[in-house]
C-alpha cells in the first residue's frame, strides 16, 4: 500500500491542474460568449486575434 504515498498526491495534483485551468479560462473571459465561440470556429481566415483588452 506504500504506492499510495505517490498515487494519491499524483491524482490530487492532476485534479488541481484541471481546476486551475478552469479558473484561468473563466478569468480570461472564455465563458463570456459561448454562442459566439461556437460560430467562430467556422471562420476560415486565420488572422491572429489582436490583444485582449484588460478587464476593468
Amino acid at each position: 500500500m506504500n504506492i499510495l504515498i505517490f498515487l494519491v498526491p499524483a491524482a490530487l495534483l492532476l485534479g488541481l491542474l484541471g481546476l486551475v485551468a478552469f479558473l484561468w479560462s473563466l478569468k480570461t473571459g472564455q465563458y463570456d460568449d459561448l454562442e459566439g465561440a461556437a460560430e467562430r470556429i467556422l471562420f476560415d481566415d486565420d488572422e491572429p486575434e489582436k490583444d485582449e483588452p484588460k478587464k476593468d
Partner: protein, 740 residues
C-alpha cells in the same frame, strides 16, 4: 437643407461621445448594443466593418449578448464614425454604459461558476477516495489505510466546502436574520453538520464519513443555481438591449443658436430642444415654434394624433409626427399626467403583496419537519439506551438524508427549461418568480392600443374607393410621416403612382400637390373640403382633386393578426378576459365586439385602471395585466403578474414581468401554457423528492444509512427530478409543428 433636416438624417440616436471611456493606455473604449446580430455571418460583418476603420485597435462582438466592445485610437477616429460604419453595414448600434447594465448578475454568475468548479473538483476527488473506502470495507482494507483515505477526503472537502458553500451559507444566514425559512437553511445546516460529524469521525478513526455527501450535494445544487441565474441573466440582458436600442439623446439649441446633442437626463427646465419629425419628445415641455401633430398613444392610449401649436404642453415619450418642433423644457408639473403616473407607480409598488415563492413556502413546512424528526431520532435512541455518540450519528444521518438536494433542484431546473423554451419563442421572462405568478392567474386584463392592436391604423374602405384615387392618395401620402398617410401609402404601394409635382405639407392640415395642372389636396376634412363624419370611432383622410367631390379614406387601428384566436384560447383555458383602455368609447366598443370581449371599459385613466385591478383582487382574482403604454405602467406594477410587448414604453417594460416580441399575440398564450406546465412539474418534483424521503427517512431513523446509501439516494433523487423537469421541453417540442 436646414439644420433640422441634417439632424433628421443623422438620426435621433444618442451621442456616442457620452459613453466613450478612456483605457489605461490612452485608447478610447466604447460598448455598443447591436440590433440584428444573430449569426456567424453578422458577427463577421460587424467585426470586419469595425476592424477596417482606420485607428480601431480591437473589436470583439459577443453573439450571446448581442453587444460589441471597440477600442481605438481617439486621435484618429471619432465615436460617431464607428456607429456610422455599422449603420452602413446594416446594423443599428447604440452605445451603453456597461457599468449600468447587468453587472450584478454577471458577477453573481461568475462567482457561482467558480464555486461550481471548486465543488466539482472536490466532488470527483472525494468520491474517488470514498469508492475505494467502500470497496475496502467489504474486502481487506486495513484501518490505517482507511484512516489515511479519510484524512485525504477531509483535506479536499473542508476547504472546498468553506469556499463553494458560501452562496448557501450567506442566503441561509440572511433568511434566519429576517426570521424566515428558505430552502438554504436546511441545506446549510445539513452540509455543516455532516462535515463536522465526518471530521470528528475521522479523528476517532470511525468506519463512516460523509464528506462525499457534503461536496456532491453542493455540486448538484450549484449546477441548479448557476443555470437559474444564467437563464435569468440572458432574458434580462435581452430586455436591456431592447431598452438600450431606443435610448435617445435630445438635440439642444444653445443660446447662440448652435445645435448639439445632450443626454436626456441632463435636460433642465428652460432649455430649448429641437424635435425632428418622427422623433420622440425628450422631456415635458411647451411648444415654442412649429405646428404639428403628436402621437400620444404610448402615454394616454389615445389612438388619434393630437394637434399641437405654439403654447401647447407636450409630454415626454410622445411622438412628433408632422413638422419639426422647437420646445422649451418645463419643470415637471405636479398635476401632469406623467407626475400622476409616477405617483401611482410608487403606491402600486408599496401595495404589491409580497409574493412568497413556492420553494420557500415548501421550505417553511419542510425545514421544521426535518429538524423535529432529527431531534426525535436523537431522543428516541437516547431513550432506548444507546450511547450519545451513536444517537448523534443517527440524528445527523437523518438530516443528511433529508437534505433537500432534490427539493433544491425541483424549482430551478424547471425554471431554466421553461425560461429557455420561452426565450426561443420570443418571450423574455424578467421576474424570477414570474412563471409561478402567471400560473396562478385566472383573469387577464388587456390594454387596447398597441397591445390588442398593433397601434398602427390601416385603410378599411379600400373597396369603396376607386383604384385611381387610392394610387393618387398613396403617391401624395408617401411624402408624409403622419400615421394615416403612412397607412395609405402602404395600402397603395403596389399601384402605379401618378407623376406629382410640387408636393408640400401644411403642418396639422394635410398635403398639397400638382398633377396635370390640377391642385390635389390630401388631409383632414376641413382642408380637403370634406364633411367630417366621426362616427366610425376611427379616423379619416380626405382627397380632393381639382374641383371634384372629395373622397374619404377611413382608417382603423388593426388588431394584432391573431388577437381573436388568442382571446378564444385564453377563454378556453378558463380566463376571464377584460379590456381596459384609455381610448374613446366607440373604438374600444367595436374592438371588444370584434374580439368577443364582454367586459370592457373605455377612457380609463391610469388611476381607473388600478382601481379596477384592485376591485378584481378584492373579489379574489389573480390578475394578469397585458399592456404597453406609459399609462399602463402603474397597472402593470399593481397586477399580480404583467406582460408587455417589446415595443412598449420603457417604463412599462421595466415594470412588466414578461416581455414578448413580434407582431403576434400568441406568445401570451404560450407563456401561460409553459407557466402552468412548469407549475405541474414543480409539484411532481416535490412529490418525487418526498417519495424518496419516505423511503430513506425510516432507514436513517433506524440507523441503517451508511454514506453509500446516502450517496445513492441523493444522486438518484436529483437525477430523477432533473429528468422529470426536462419533460417540459419534450412535450412542447412535440406540439410545436402543429402550432406553427
Amino acid at each position: 437643407m436646414n439644420d433640422a433636416a441634417v439632424i433628421a438624417e443623422d438620426g435621433p440616436g444618442a451621442d456616442p461621445e457620452f459613453f466613450v471611456r478612456e483605457t489605461e493606455d490612452g485608447q478610447a473604449r466604447l460598448d455598443l448594443v447591436v440590433a440584428g446580430m444573430h449569426c456567424a455571418g453578422c458577427l463577421r460583418k460587424v467585426e470586419g466593418a469595425l476592424k477596417n476603420l482606420d485607428g480601431v485597435e480591437y473589436a470583439r462582438a459577443n453573439l450571446s449578448t448581442k453587444r460589441v466592445a471597440v477600442r481605438w485610437n481617439p486621435s484618429r477616429l471619432k465615436a460617431r464614425a464607428i456607429i456610422h460604419a455599422l449603420a452602413e453595414t446594416g446594423f443599428t448600434a447604440v452605445p451603453f454604459d456597461p457599468k449600468l447594465l447587468g453587472t450584478l448578475d454577471e458577477q453573481e454568475s461568475r462567482s457561482l461558476l467558480k464555486a461550481l468548479g471548486v465543488s466539482g473538483f472536490a466532488a470527483a476527488n472525494v468520491m474517488l477516495v470514498s469508492v475505494s473506502v467502500w470497496s475496502g470495507l467489504v474486502t481487506d482494507m486495513d484501518a490505517t489505510t482507511r484512516s489515511f483515505f479519510h484524512w485525504v477526503s477531509a483535506l479536499i472537502a473542508l476547504p472546498a466546502i468553506a469556499y463553494a458553500g458560501q452562496p448557501f451559507f450567506r442566503s441561509a444566514l440572511k433568511a434566519l436574520r429576517a426570521k424566515t425559512m428558505n430552502m438554504d437553511v436546511p441545506i446549510a445546516l445539513a452540509v455543516i453538520l455532516a462535515t463536522t460529524m465526518s471530521l470528528v469521525q475521522t479523528m476517532v478513526n470511525a468506519r463512516h464519513v460523509y464528506f462525499d455527501a457534503s461536496v456532491t450535494l453542493l455540486f448538484f445544487l450549484l449546477i441548479g443555481r448557476y443555470l437559474d441565474v444564467q437563464a435569468r441573466a440572458k432574458a434580462c440582458s435581452a430586455a436591456e438591449n431592447l431598452l438600450g436600442l431606443r435610448a435617445t439623446a435630445a438635440t439642444l439649441i444653445a443660446p447662440d443658436g448652435t445645435h448639439r446633442s445632450i443626454a436626456i437626463e441632463n435636460l433642465e427646465p428652460g432649455m430649448k430642444v429641437l424635435v425632428v419629425a418622427g422623433g420622440r419628445i425628450p422631456a415635458d415641455g411647451e411648444i415654442l415654434t412649429g405646428m404639428s401633430e403628436v402621437d400620444t398613444s404610448l402615454v394616454t392610449g389615445e389612438s388619434l394624433p393630437e394637434q399641437v401649436k405654439p403654447g401647447t404642453p407636450v409630454f415626454a415619450g410622445t411622438l412628433n409626427l408632422g413638422a419639426p418642433l422647437i420646445i422649451r423644457v418645463t419643470k415637471r408639473d405636479d398635476d401632469s399626467l406623467l407626475a400622476e403616473i409616477v405617483r401611482l407607480m410608487e403606491t402600486a409598488e408599496q401595495g404589491r403583496a409580497r409574493y412568497v415563492r413556492i420553494a420557500d413556502r415548501a421550505a417553511r413546512i419542510y425545514s421544521p419537519a426535518v429538524h423535529i424528526m432529527a431531534a426525535a431520532t436523537l431522543a428516541l435512541w437516547f431513550a432506548l439506551g444507546a450511547p450519545w455518540e451513536t444517537s448523534f450519528t443517527y440524528a445527523i444521518s437523518v438530516l443528511i438524508i433529508t437534505c433537500p438536494c432534490a427539493l433544491g433542484l425541483a424549482v430551478p431546473v424547471v425554471q431554466v427549461v421553461a425560461t429557455g423554451r420561452l426565450l426561443r419563442r420570443g418571450v423574455l421572462v424578467k421576474a424570477p418568480d414570474g412563471l409561478e405568478r402567471l400560473a396562478q392567474a385566472d383573469t387577464i386584463v388587456f390594454d387596447k392600443t398597441g397591445t390588442l392592436t398593433l397601434g398602427r391604423p390601416h385603410l378599411v374602405n379600400g373597396n369603396e374607393v376607386a383604384q385611381t384615387d387610392i394610387a393618387l392618395g398613396a403617391a401624395i401620402a408617401a411624402s408624409s410621416r403622419h400615421p394615416l398617410a403612412i397607412a395609405l401609402a402602404a395600402h397603395g404601394k403596389e399601384l402605379l403612382p401618378p407623376l406629382l409635382e410640387d408636393v408640400h405639407e401644411e403642418p396639422g392640415m394635410g398635403l398639397e400637390a400638382q398633377l396635370d395642372g390640377e391642385t390635389i389636396r390630401l388631409g383632414n376634412a376641413e382642408y380637403a373640403g370634406g364633411e367630417q363624419r366621426d362616427m366610425h370611432g376611427g379616423s379619416e383622410l380626405w382627397l380632393r382633386r381639382g374641383n371634384r367631390a372629395p373622397v374619404c379614406f377611413r382608417f382603423e387601428d388593426t388588431p394584432r393578426p391573431d388577437a381573436k384566436e388568442v382571446i378564444n384560447a385564453l377563454k378556453a383555458r378558463g380566463f376571464a378576459v377584460e379590456l381596459l383602455s384609455g381610448d374613446r368609447e366607440p373604438a374600444v366598443q367595436r374592438l371588444a365586439e370584434t374580439l368577443g370581449i364582454t367586459v370592457w371599459r373605455a377612457g380609463a385613466r391610469p388611476a381607473a385602471k388600478i382601481a379596477r385591478l384592485e376591485e378584481l383582487t378584492k373579489e379574489g382574482h389573480k390578475v394578469a395585466m397585458v399592456g404597453d403604454g406609459l399609462n399602463d405602467a402603474p397597472a402593470l406594477r399593481a397586477a399580480h403578474v404583467s406582460i408587455s410587448p417589446a415595443d412598449a414604453a420603457d417604463v412599462s417594460q421595466t415594470a412588466a414581468d414578461f416581455i414578448f416580441q413580434g407582431a403576434r399575440l400568441t406568445p401570451v398564450v404560450e407563456a401561460v401554457d409553459v407557466a402552468r406546465k412548469a407549475r405541474t412539474l414543480v409539484f411532481e418534483n416535490f412529490g418525487l423528492a418526498l417519495a424518496y424521503n419516505a423511503i430513506a427517512v425510516p432507514l436513517a431513523v433506524a440507523g441503517y444509512v451508511t454514506p453509500l446509501v446516502a450517496a445513492v439516494a441523493m444522486s438518484s433523487s436529483s437525477i430523477t427530478v432533473t429528468l422529470n423537469s426536462l419533460r417540459l421541453n419534450l412535450a412542447r417540442r412535440a406540439k410545436s409543428p402543429r402550432e406553427s
